[in-house]
């Protein structure tokens, strides 16, 4: 694995990003709804020296019908379940904001940060379509612009709540009998188009102050939200030239948005399948594709097994070479490996010497931000 500050993450999507991955003998598909499956996979990624794991989530079933692995555990729950079994790896569950309450989300991720001593992040997503809207029955399906406008507000609410307790709000002052200094707790008084939230949080400021926020920004209105809000921006370019161009565009957008482009990391997705030899890896991929073609035909909207994304089919060694090349190319600040078949690829990932335990923020070389409310208070007499 390349060292230095190149960021390496792995996304664990069920038994794999390939819709037929569950059919492999080694897929452990029967265990998909057990803690053991997820803790094993996440600790394997940690042992491989990766910096973080992404955990996809949704309120909808996976498309593709009976021939795909359907069903999913709550991603924040999986991350929390793995907290005590891991020590170094960042945990970035997805959590959609369309039908949920930012107040709950804020304390959930902050609590994950407490349980992991500063390794928590949150990948912001939205819930598209009628199916999930009907599961909540609260509002009609929204257009992407509205979904991401709401997401933008949700991130604002969540990050304000994370700042709503200053770091040293707990004072335990015996003479005055005060457990907290109430001057260091702040109402966020947020009022937007989708939310009005009073605050403060019920959860104190967590080890990272602000857990890491990730946003996928390939197209449409999600790009602006990523530019305004994200510490990590995920993109899925078709090749390294495209990655280069997109990262350059994002960096100039960050500048225009008055943000420091060096304080935001751009990660590119790479679909991966590893085996003992390159030939074997290609054979196994061909088998996965055959299963997909012969299985119950995926319904429209199912993710393609192949497509216009970067992919690497080969061995652990050739992956290491590729990552070094990506790192050298300057096309990205890091990658998110998406194993097409989780068990097979994790087995062939090289193991790395244990990295020192740090916060996810430190691993990303991002400073721990002070509470925005503490800054406002500076200089005012108490």
């Amino acid at each position: 694995m390349p060292d230095s500050d190149f960021f390496l993450a792995v996304e664990l999507a069920g038994t794999g990003a390939h819709p037929a991955s569950w059919r492999r003998r080694d897929s452990r598909a029967e265990d998909l709804f057990t803690a053991r499956y997820w803790v094993d996979a996440i600790t394997a990624v940690e042992k491989a020296g990766a910096d973080a794991v992404f955990l996809p989530d949704s309120f909808g079933l996976q498309p593709g019908g009976a021939a795909t692995a359907q069903g999913r555990l709550d991603a924040v729950a999986i991350a929390a379940r793995a907290a005590a079994a891991t020590h170094r790896i960042g945990l970035l569950p997805q959590a959609p904001v369309t039908h949920t309450e930012p107040f709950h989300l804020s304390k959930a991720i902050a609590s994950l940060d407490f349980a992991t001593l500063g390794r928590a992040g949150w990948e912001v997503t939205v819930s598209e379509g009628a199916e999930q809207a009907k599961a909540f029955g609260r509002k009609s399906p929204q257009e992407p612009a509205a979904l991401w406008h709401e997401a933008d507000e949700a991130v604002e609410v969540v990050t304000r709540l994370w700042d709503s307790w200053e770091d040293d709000a707990e004072i335990r002052d015996l003479p005055t009998g005060r457990f907290i200094d109430r001057e260091k707790l702040h109402y966020i008084d947020y009022a937007g188009d989708y939310f009005s939230v009073k605050g403060p949080s019920i959860t104190p400021r967590s080890p990272q102050g602000q857990p890491i926020v990730a946003v996928r920004a390939d197209e449409g209105p999600s790009i602006q939200v990523a530019v305004r809000r994200a510490d990590l921006i995920r993109i899925a370019p078709p090749d390294l030239d495209a990655a280069h161009a997109r990262r350059a565009a994002l960096r100039s957008a960050l500048l225009s948005a008055d943000r420091d482009p060096d304080a935001v990391r751009v990660l590119i997705d790479i679909d991966v399948h590893l085996a003992g030899t390159a030939e074997r890896a290609y054979e196994e991929l061909a088998e996965l594709d055959r299963w997909s073609a012969s299985g119950t035909a995926p319904r429209s909207g199912a993710p393609a097994a192949t497509g216009s994304v970067l992919r690497h089919i080969g061995t652990g060694d050739s992956l290491t070479e590729l990552l070094a090349a990506v790192s050298d190319s300057g096309a990205a600040d890091g990658v998110v490996l998406r194993p097409l078949a989780v068990e097979a690829t994790l087995r062939h990932l090289a193991t790395a010497p244990p990295a020192p335990a740090t916060t996810l923020r430190e691993r990303l070389d991002l400073p721990r931000p002070p509470s925005r409310y503490a800054t406002i208070q500076e200089g005012t007499p108490s």
Binding site: D74, T100, F179, S196, K198
Partner: protein, 457 residues
């Protein structure tokens, strides 16, 4: 003890110390209320003591007093689901119960979160369903938060109904995982619900969890709350302190079960209880007195008084007599916590009379009227008293509320649990793996078939 009835087993659970003045933060042994290590310590102690479950309360808005955030008691708590899932990783058998409000959450999301906790803990999840009609708390949520009082339990009941329908929605043979045929799961049917609160149509995202339904706890004490509990809950979390009050409540709740087609043992009554131990009865009493003074410091005594008087009383001496001015009638002076006085003038008069008759200062009076230590004595005495409550049907067990974080349960587990075991009233090992096993509750799908059988006969 009557020998006509078989000895009942005592059920015990551990409450993580809450955010009120019963939790003593000023003690040198008091550690963090928020660091994960504190939760790990209490949960592992409870599991070492073979307790049924760990219990986490919830609050969704910081309390205010005199228009500002209340600063005298412990403040700050984590997210219920995150902590319980994380604790599932450091315990093996212990049930994991959490309070989740049914007013500020949506049933589909709750069903997914509780089913996930049940899967990830191997069948140890429990949900303490609470309701709110509190616009103050609602200001933190997009719903804006106000639900008419009469709608609280309607929404709670519908929330549970939808969650249970979703938990049951994958037929038993749905999950196939047939690699050769290429079938992972058969068709997952859509669950439809149209009620006064929700209009929902959804396919659920998880197969049935180890317990079928996570265990349902309920804590409301109004008539609506009791009916909801009798119809719905697996266990009731109450606050009836005395033996007499306990027996009355116990008989009332168990009596309500029949009309819902439920058996006597399908609902466990688990009051909250505090305890103080000592090597002698006198030492326990002395420790209890010391703890009461820790719980009600001078500033806390004044704050309690201000709740009833509805005005700033900071000029009064906590060690002096009660104010002779009358309450203002402002009952909203403290928000986000249960109010102590429905009729402040009557309370003030009663307190003045008591203070005068017993020659009590403000602080002494507040200690007298708020003290809730239930089991005070030697380990043998406390064990005997707990057992008496259970064997005489005042309770099925207790949810113990220690006053110290996180070591407040250590001594109980080390000294009282062996006494209970010696009396034959408490398990010496876990008999099963799930919380339903610990509580002696049937799997919900068995319950359904039992009812069908009962109706047919």
């Amino acid at each position: 003890m009557s020998s006509t009835k078989p000895r009942k087993s005592v059920h015990l659970a551990a409450h993580f110390p809450g955010v009120n003045n019963t939790t003593v933060w000023s003690d040198p042994a008091s550690k963090s209320q928020i660091d994960f290590e504190s939760f790990v310590h209490l949960a592992r102690t409870a599991e070492r003591g073979l307790f049924d479950f760990f219990f986490l309360a919830e609050g969704l808005r910081l309390r205010e007093h005199l228009g500002r955030i209340h600063d005298l008691d412990v403040v700050g708590r984590p997210d219920t689901f995150t902590v319980l899932n994380a604790l599932a990783g450091v315990t093996e058998k212990l049930g994991l119960a959490g309070t989740i409000n049914s007013t500020y959450n949506e049933p589909f999301e709750l069903a997914k979160q509780f089913a996930s906790l049940d899967h990830l803990s191997g069948g140890r999840a429990a949900w303490n369903v609470v309701t709110s009609s509190d616009a103050f708390t609602g200001e933190n949520f997009r719903r804006g938060g106000y639900l008419e009082h009469s709608d609280r339990y309607r929404r709670a009941a519908e929330t549970v109904e939808v969650a249970r329908a979703l938990w049951d929605s994958w037929p038993a043979d749905t999950l196939v995982v047939d690699r050769d045929a290429g079938v992972f799961a058969k068709d997952i049917p859509e669950t439809r619900h149209r009620g006064r609160q929700f209009d929902i149509a959804a396919r659920f995202v998880l197969p049935p969890s180890p317990q079928g339904h996570p265990v349902l706890l309920q804590a409301g004490d109004s008539d609506d709350g009791r009916e909801f509990g009798a119809a719905t809950a697996d266990a009731i979390f109450t606050g009836h302190g005395t033996l007499e009050a306990g027996r009355t409540f116990y008989a009332d709740m168990k009596g309500r079960l029949a009309k819902y087609g439920r058996g006597h043992d399908e609902l466990k009554i688990l009051p909250a209880a505090t305890f103080v131990l000592g090597d002698t009865a006198a030492e326990a009493e002395e420790r209890a007195r010391h703890i009461r003074y820790q719980q009600v410091g001078p500033q806390t005594a004044i704050a309690f008084l201000e709740q009833v008087w509805g005005r700033d009383l900071s000029g009064y001496d906590p060690d002096g007599p009660l104010p002779d001015v009358d309450p203002s009638g402002d009952v909203n002076i403290t928000r986000g916590r249960v109010r102590h006085a429905k009729d402040p003038r009557a309370v003030a008069e009663a307190w003045r009379a008591k203070a005068e008759a017993e020659n009590l200062s403000i602080r002494e009076l507040i200690i007298e009227v708020t003290a809730r230590q239930q089991f005070v004595g030697t380990p043998a005495e406390v064990a005997e008293r707990i057992d008496e409550y259970v064997q005489t049907d005042a309770a099925d067990g207790f949810i113990l509320v220690p006053h110290l974080t996180p070591g407040g349960l250590d001594e109980f587990v080390d000294r009282v649990v062996p006494e209970l075991q010696e009396r034959g009233s408490f398990r010496t090992e876990y008999a099963g793996d799930t919380l339903r096993d610990h509580l002696g509750l049937r799997h919900p799908h068995h319950r359904t078939s039992v009812h069908e059988g009962a109706r047919a006969s």
